[in-house]
Amino acid sequence: MNESTRSAISIQNLTKSYGSHVVLENISLEIPRGQIVGLMGPNGSGKTSLMKILTGMINDYSGQALIDGEPIGARTKAAVAYLPDKNFLPGWMTAKQAINYFADFYKNFDKAKAFEMLGAFWLEPGMKVKTMSKGMQEKLLLLLVMCRAAKLYVLDEPLGGVDPSARQFIMDTILGNRPEGSTILLSTHMVYDMERVFDIALMIGRKQVLVNDRVASLSARGKTLNQLFQEVFPYVG
């Protein structure tokens, strides 16, 4: 397969279990490049597990997962920017040290842009992570991830637990800093309002991929994302 036709994400027969509890069972899917993919599903459906597999945080699974045609490893990690649903920075680290850390390891990290964004986010370079509020920590993590010119952004619940204005700010930051042609995989429970953002709706639950469809084709069928979500997961909400 040549470079231009390779999928951003390619998964074949992937199974992940925690002991006897199977979370993802023999799933296969392809995500084309350059798309914004909404990963949706109820709690415990395997969204975070799937993201951890794609970013190398979990490697005890069976099946195959490829990023841009490559198995998960050091090369894919250089191309993937991952925002987990928890603060991964040590408390003693200052915002400036965190930026320097990322600049040291990621060739695609834009240090000048990071310091510029730090000012725009009202964050002090000398402020330690442990003294920051939860919101400030989330802003710093988002900044670190979005200042990388990555091929794939894996964003785990970036909109979880934030007020509507902060949600708008986060989405603007993500969409405004995303390089052209990059792919975004974003997990969320916020099905409302996301129709205009997502190109592809990916819904997982009951250990399977239940929906992997273009949002535009849903609209053509007269369905909203929210209606589809209610149909697929009638027991949720």
């Binding site: 002991g19 490697n59 005890d60 040590p90």
Partner: protein
């Protein structure tokens, strides 16, 4: 990339462990200043003796505390939320592991050197104190003369070059033990975060550490009995620190090769766990 990893790991670990070293060195310096005072009375002499005795506890506490700091730091940086930072770096698992291992060995070694230095400072202080105290003071203190004689015996070295050779051999022995111990510790920490041990990782970590120590003890005992020559620490077994030194060096080289082989094996298994069995919570 290994250089950058080393730089950041060294800085991160050093944040707490450096102050432990610096604290130990400062205490050593302070006690030396107090012990250097001339024309002191019996009360001051006894207080200085007590402070020097406390140095032993500081010297013993430093290696133990540094080991605890290192283990906690390794666990935290790889397997807590900070593990998301470590495992998302665009580096191979071998480099991630090697950097953490080298950082730990260097910091522990530095702390051990400070600890050994504190023992030497204490011995020097005591000798100086007895010298400064004068005959009349020592005669008035029960047992002081005996202690002075014992210190003299303990602090006797045949020559400077012999001391250096002994020190070199001791350092090499310490280093190879340290390499194996550190690799075992990293392996144990990694294993305790692998399914099915992950749910009670802390408990499993202690169980594995105890088990590996017991296994190590009995292995050394068995190998020592099975081999025609003593397996480890022959420099102490000779009864004379420098007697039979050539034989000791040869035997220790054999020991070093066995220990390095074991460490290499543990590195390979831990790297395999990094590649195939990681499941960060």
């Amino acid at each position: 990339m290994l250089g950058k990893l080393l730089k950041h790991d060294f800085m991160q670990t050093g944040r707490s462990i450096f102050w432990l070293m610096a604290g130990g060195a400062a205490v050593g310096g302070l006690v030396t200043i107090i012990s250097s005072t001339k024309d002191i009375g019996a009360g001051q002499f006894a207080a200085a003796m007590l402070l020097n005795a406390l140095l032993i506890f500081v010297a013993l506490a430093i290696p133990v505390l540094s080991l605890v700091f290192i283990l906690v730091s390794t666990n935290r940086s790889l397997f807590t939320e900070q593990g998301y930072l470590a495992f998302s770096l665009p580096v191979s698992s071998e480099k991630l592991l090697l950097s953490r291992f080298l950082t730990n060995v260097i910091w522990i070694l530095l702390n051990y050197l400070v600890s050994v230095g504190l023992f030497a400072v204490m011995m020097t202080n005591l000798r100086r104190m007895f010298k400064n105290a004068g005959e009349s003071l020592l005669a008035s203190m029960e047992g002081a003369g005996d202690l002075q004689a014992q210190l003299g015996d303990a602090f006797y070295f045949p020559s400077f070059s012999a001391v250096l050779q002994f020190g070199g051999l001791l350092l090499a022995t310490l280093l190879m033990f340290l390499i194996l111990a550190m690799m075992t510790a990293i392996f144990v920490i990694t294993l305790s975060h692998v399914r099915p041990f992950q749910q009670m990782a802390g408990l499993w970590m202690i169980v594995f550490l105890v088990a590996s120590s017991v296994l190590f003890f009995f292995s050394v005992k068995w190998i020592s009995q099975a081999l025609p020559w003593p397996f480890i620490l022959t420099i102490f077994a000779t009864g004379d620190m420098l007697g039979g030194q050539n034989e000791s060096v040869t035997v220790n080289m054999t020991t070093a090769l066995v220990m390095l082989g074991l460490s290499g094996g543990l590195f390979a298994v831990t790297d395999w766990l990094f590649k195939r069995k990681i499941s960060l919570k």
